[in-house]
């Protein structure tokens, strides 16, 4: 079935779309009610976030926009130490989209939500002019335990920085798909629920967590160093990148430090808890390749900065991502 403007009219076609695709997949009591809004239980400190997903292509090796839109929102909630609970989703579908594709995506959303332990409680669909694209906005709600303070301002000199796994997979996958290149690289899109809940369960004193998405590790750490007014020192040979991604990046001159990921986070903890934290993360789903990549330092000059010690002994300063692909060497 090809989706047309009629599917967004609010009439019978719309109901058909909702019943056949959404309600079927998002199989839970709240969504089945088809009310104007979801009424759900809750009593703690609430964490809320929203994000829009416009990835092209919408299906790619290792995932699709459905999985991505759940992971993105769930991970954002998790990074403040929240337990992710509820998700809403808004679909903006361009005329000409194939309902089979939509079905696959919605199915993938449902699977991912299950994996991440969240319930999709409400949704919306609009159809617009266009070329068959699908865009999704998700909002998420989670609960935060009283007394938990995980924030970008909490970095303290002496803390160690743990990265939950290899860099660059998602970005490389999307670029590869756009170029129609077949290789073994797959997106890392994944919910980080297991990592975070295990860390909280073990009462690790987490100072800061951040998912390493757009702009990559360099951007995320630079922002953190500025918020906390500390320097961060990384070691080049500790940064994990798979061989396939390294080769791909090498030829295209891409720097994995600036590439986006969708299932990776950094966790900053006091030095004395780093060993235990690393063990917990490595024993969690999607945390098998976690490593300690660096250390938080006292700010040496009047500007906070992140630098990486290169294998030949230099210190390269990292920054937030600039215009992609512009050379500086004269």
């Amino acid at each position: 079935m090809i989706i047309t403007m009629a599917h967004g009219s609010g009439g019978a076609f719309t109901s058909e779309l909702i019943d056949k695709i959404f309600v079927k997949e998002f199989d839970n009591e709240t969504v089945k009610e088809l009310e104007d809004c979801a009424v759900i239980p809750g009593s703690k400190k609430i964490a809320m976030t929203t994000d829009s997903f416009v990835v092209k292509p919408i299906e790619y090796p290792g995932g699709d926009i459905g999985r991505l839109c759940i992971c993105g929102t769930v991970n954002d909630l998790l990074m403040r130490g929240a337990k992710a609970k509820y998700i809403t989703c808004g679909f903006i579908i361009e005329e000409g989209a194939n309902s089979e594709t939509l079905k696959r995506i919605v199915h993938s959303m449902a699977e991912t939500a299950k994996e991440a332990g969240v319930i999709i409680v409400a949704g919306d669909t609009k159809v617009i002019d266009g070329n068959g694209g699908i865009m999704i906005n998700t909002a998420g709600v989670g609960f935060v335990e009283e007394g938990l303070d995980i924030s970008s301002r909490n970095l303290t000199p002496g803390d160690l920085v743990i990265l939950s796994g290899n860099l660059g997979d998602h970005h490389a996958t999307i670029l590869g798909s756009r170029m129609n290149i077949t290789n073994s690289i797959k997106s890392d899109n994944a919910p980080l629920t297991d990592i975070v809940s295990n860390l909280l369960k073990e009462k690790i004193n987490i100072h800061t967590m951040r998912d390493v998405t757009r702009g990559g590790l360099a951007t995320v750490l630079t922002e953190l160093s500025r918020s906390s007014r500390v320097d961060i020192k990384l070691e080049e040979d500790k940064i994990p990148v798979s061989n396939a991604v390294r080769d791909f990046c090498g030829l295209l001159g891409l720097d994995p430090l600036y590439m986006g990921n969708e299932g990776k986070c950094i966790i900053v903890v006091p030095k004395n808890e780093a060993g235990k934290a690393l063990e917990v993360i490595r024993n969690s789903k999607y945390g098998e390749n976690a490593v300690i990549i660096g250390e938080v330092k006292e700010m040496a000059e009047d500007k906070a900065c992140v630098y990486i010690e290169t294998e030949i002994g230099g210190k390269r300063i990292l920054d937030v991502l600039q215009d992609e692909g512009l050379p500086r060497i004269c």
């Binding site: 670029l175 040496a300 230099g314 300063i317 004269c330």
Partner: protein
């Protein structure tokens, strides 16, 4: 009221004992007044005595080239002005060291190479400073590198840690003594002490312990170690050097490990010009530069007679030193310690003491760490602190048809902080940040621009800190309060962001200047031009259209410019990586030539470098990336064309150091040109066309022709020469087209590509034949080290 006569003396008048000479003369004539150094000139002030003034002037006029009165000096011009003054005349005639202030402009002295008088005392057994490695006088010794604050008095320099002994103090106070009022005066008893530090294994308990020596013991141990093939750190005026025997291949290899420098040439120190002449051609001008106060590294054409390096020197300098370059970086000793060392050796590798990509090391502790880690074998040093680090300067002489010009490649010790005078009065104090690589900043007031030393790549943590520190101390020393701030437009430059912050803190906005506009303006600043056309050939600069420029044809008037044309855009992949993995960049260029049907893809199989890409996953990836514009950029860079041409001719496939491929291309072409000795018409027809009013050079066609000639079996050296020759010819067509559009015949050439002497010669010869007046950089580098001067000149 008094009459005050001011004499501005220009010529070779600094670092040659000129001021003590004038002081002596002035006192003999009973004059009241002073003599001081001001921005490369000497200023003499005389009160009232017109007759005395005339005699003094007559004496100074006799100091012509090769005079025997004051060897090394040369007075070119004396400009006298007269004014009435209510200032009180001094009681005598003295060297005014501490008040080098003129029209509100402060002049901080450069570092002076050891003068002849000190050198002979150093080697005189009967002198109290015999073999004292820190001998200096009023005419020589460190200055800017040890100054913390003005006035230039001992307590404001790092000599404050070494109080004068009685003997020195007496000399300090005695007229007609060469150390009268010499702030750096010192001797064996009171000054810095030469020390040696290494690690040694205790033969009894096997533990590694510190090994320390002093004075002559330190010196002779260091000499012994170098002779044994060790790599030592030796502290110079502006920073450390790493030193080893230039004849010991193993030592040189070890040096390459220490600096993580695979192939790039090392500078070599020789005792005198005579020794250098055994290995390289030294023209009169080159000898003058070698012996000039800055004692720069001079890049000299190596002797290669009979196709071998062997000659009267008695051995080959190994290829390990210079990657078979056409020129050797030679220099002479500039301080007493180096003079003593060069009594023991006839050549030493004398390379900046830094680790790959980092600034020169100045702190003793940092060197000790390297010794402790076993990275270097020992350190020959002293405890005088280096406050303002400065590397050795690098220059070369390029012979044009009718003249020789000096090109400054790195403007540092001996030149910095001499200001450059421009014909423009700035409305307030300026700071210009320069570029991000080979970073040099400028501070300016009125019509004087002071440039800093080089700081390397600002993405390096230490380089950034060194630049920040230098900016602060130079601002203080020059007593400037910048109100105007200028930076390059490149959004990815640290200097761009940093300057915006500085401007913001000063309550203003930074002015952003396009990179190549600044290059051209650096020539305009040197030659006081307000209007000119220009060809700027360069590696990388952020363009006003968001593309990467680097082969630009600009018309500049006052502070504006118009882009009349450029080298046609090529698309390259992978940011800075495209400048290193040049085989990939060349392949990407060939894909575009193939897509444009300029080259037949089948031919790739015949090419030693491109054939590896045939049917490879890499080629598919590059093609796809080009099609989808993944991590790619469009560029008119001529620097990249040199890279690509070098790959096409299979001369070089990776730039293991900056400019490796272009330099190898130039070397081959130059050797060929020297053999044929005349200028043939160009054989590659490079198309210059005009599209929508823009002058465009067809880079794709040029590279395609080069490729086809190479595949057809052309001689590589001839082809390398033809690359230069055809490029030059095309640029003449460009210049003529620019002149037609603007009616302007004044043409500036700038940008890093003009470090290429052959290209410069071929182009200038042709342009002058077409009646262009050609202007070049001679005071600042044509590369990014000169950008800051151009930026200042464009300030409004």
């Amino acid at each position: 009221m008094h009459t005050l006569y001011s004499l501005n003396v220009t010529g070779l008048v600094q670092g040659v004992g000129f001021r003590p000479y004038v002081e002596e003369l002035g006192n003999k004539l009973n004059l009241k007044g002073s003599v001081s150094n001001i921005g490369g000139q000497v200023l003499i002030k005389i009160f009232d005595d017109k007759k005395g003034l005339d005699i003094l002037k007559e004496n100074l006029s006799k100091l012509c080239k090769n005079n025997t009165v004051l060897p090394g000096s040369r007075v070119d011009n004396i400009l006298i002005s007269t004014e009435t003054s209510n200032e009180n005349p001094p009681r005598n005639f003295f060297i005014n060291n501490s008040l080098n202030i003129h029209d509100n402009i402060r002049f901080i002295p450069v570092d002076y190479a050891t003068c002849d008088k000190c050198k002979s005392e150093l080697l005189d057994k009967n002198n109290i400073r015999y073999r004292y490695p820190f001998i200096s006088c009023v005419a020589c010794g460190p200055r800017i590198t040890i100054i913390n604050e003005l006035p230039y008095d001992r307590e404001n320099t790092s000599m404050k840690d070494f109080p004068m002994c009685e003997t020195c103090e007496t000399e300090y106070k005695t007229f007609e003594n060469i150390r009268h009022y010499a702030q750096t005066i010192a001797c064996h008893d009171c000054g810095p002490i030469l020390k040696f530090y290494a690690k040694k294994r205790n033969e009894i308990n096997g533990l590694v312990e510190d090994y320390k020596l002093e004075r002559e013991d330190a010196f002779s141990k260091a000499v012994k170690e170098i002779k044994a093939g060790k790599v030592l750190a030796v502290k110079d005026i502006g920073g450390y050097h790493f030193v080893c025997d230039a004849k010991n291949v193993k030592a040189i290899r070890k040096m390459r490990q220490v600096k993580a420098r695979e192939k790039k040439a090392f500078a070599v120190m020789f005792p005198d010009v005579k020794t250098i002449k055994k290995l390289a051609y030294v023209s009169e001008k080159e000898a003058e530069l070698l012996e000039s106060n800055a004692r720069p590294i001079v890049l000299l054409r190596k002797r290669e007679e009979d196709g071998s390096d062997t000659d009267s020197f008695g051995y080959n300098l190994s290829e390990e030193i210079d990657d078979n370059a056409i020129r050797i970086g030679a220099m002479l000793p500039s301080n007493p310690l180096q003079i003593l060392l060069m009594q023991e050796f006839d050549c030493l590798i004398m390379t900046s003491g830094n680790l790959a990509g980092e600034p020169i090391i100045t702190r003793d502790k940092d060197i000790f760490d390297l010794v402790k880690n076993g990275q270097i074998d020992g350190s020959l040093y002293n405890e005088r602190e280096i406050i303002n680090p400065l590397d050795d300067s690098i220059v070369k002489v390029t012979k044009l048809d009718n003249r020789e010009i000096t090109q400054i490649i790195r403007r540092a010790r001996g030149y910095v902080p001499d200001p450059i005078k421009i014909n423009k009065f700035l409305k307030n104090d300026y700071y210009a940040a320069g570029a991000d690589l080979k970073s040099v900043f400028a501070l300016a007031r009125k019509n004087y621009v002071t440039l800093s030393g080089h700081f390397g790549d600002l993405n390096d943590y230490e380089a950034r800190r060194a630049k920040d520190r230098a900016r602060k101390i130079f601002t203080k020393l020059l007593d400037l309060k910048p109100k105007s701030f200028i930076a390059d437009r490149h959004p990815g430059y640290y200097s761009n962001k940093d300057t915006k912050i500085l401007a913001n803190e000063a309550g203003t906005k930074a002015l952003e200047i396009q990179h190549h506009h600044a290059h051209q303006a650096s020539v305009m600043a040197e030659h006081s031009l307000s209007e000119c056309i220009g060809i700027v050939l360069d590696g990388t600069g952020y363009g006003n259209d968001g593309n990467i420029w680097g082969g630009e044809f600009l018309y500049c008037k006052d502070t504006d410019f118009r882009r009349l044309g450029h080298f046609d855009y090529l698309e390259l992949i992978g940011a800075d990586n495209a400048t290193v993995d040049i085989d990939k960049s060349a392949m990407v260029a060939m894909i575009q030539a193939i897509n444009a049907k300029l080259v037949d893809e089948e031919l790739l199989i015949n090419h030693p470098c491109f054939k590896k890409y045939i049917n490879s996953a890499s080629l598919d990836l590059l093609k796809a990336a080009l099609k989808e514009h993944i991590n790619s950029y469009k560029t008119s860079s001529v620097g990249r064309l040199f890279d690509i041409a070098a790959v096409i001719m299979n001369i070089c496939q990776k730039n293991s150091y900056e400019g490796e491929a272009p330099m190898k291309l130039e070397a081959l072409a130059t050797r060929y040109f020297e053999r044929i000795e005349n200028l043939n018409p160009a054989i590659i027809p490079v198309i210059v066309k005009e599209i929508n009013g823009e002058i465009l050079v067809d880079s794709k066609g040029f590279m395609s022709d080069l490729f086809k000639l190479y595949i057809a079996g052309a001689r590589v050296d001839e082809l390398a020469f033809e690359f230069h020759n055809s490029l030059a010819k095309a640029l003449v067509s460009v210049a003529i087209a620019m002149r037609d559009k603007t009616n302007c015949s004044d043409i500036a050439l700038s940008g890093g590509c003009f470090n290429n002497s052959l290209l410069l010669k071929l182009l200038v010869t042709r342009l002058e034949k077409e009646d262009f007046k050609v202007y070049l950089n001679e005071k600042v580098p044509c590369g990014d080290g000169g950008i800051a001067l151009g930026q200042i000149y464009l300030g409004n």
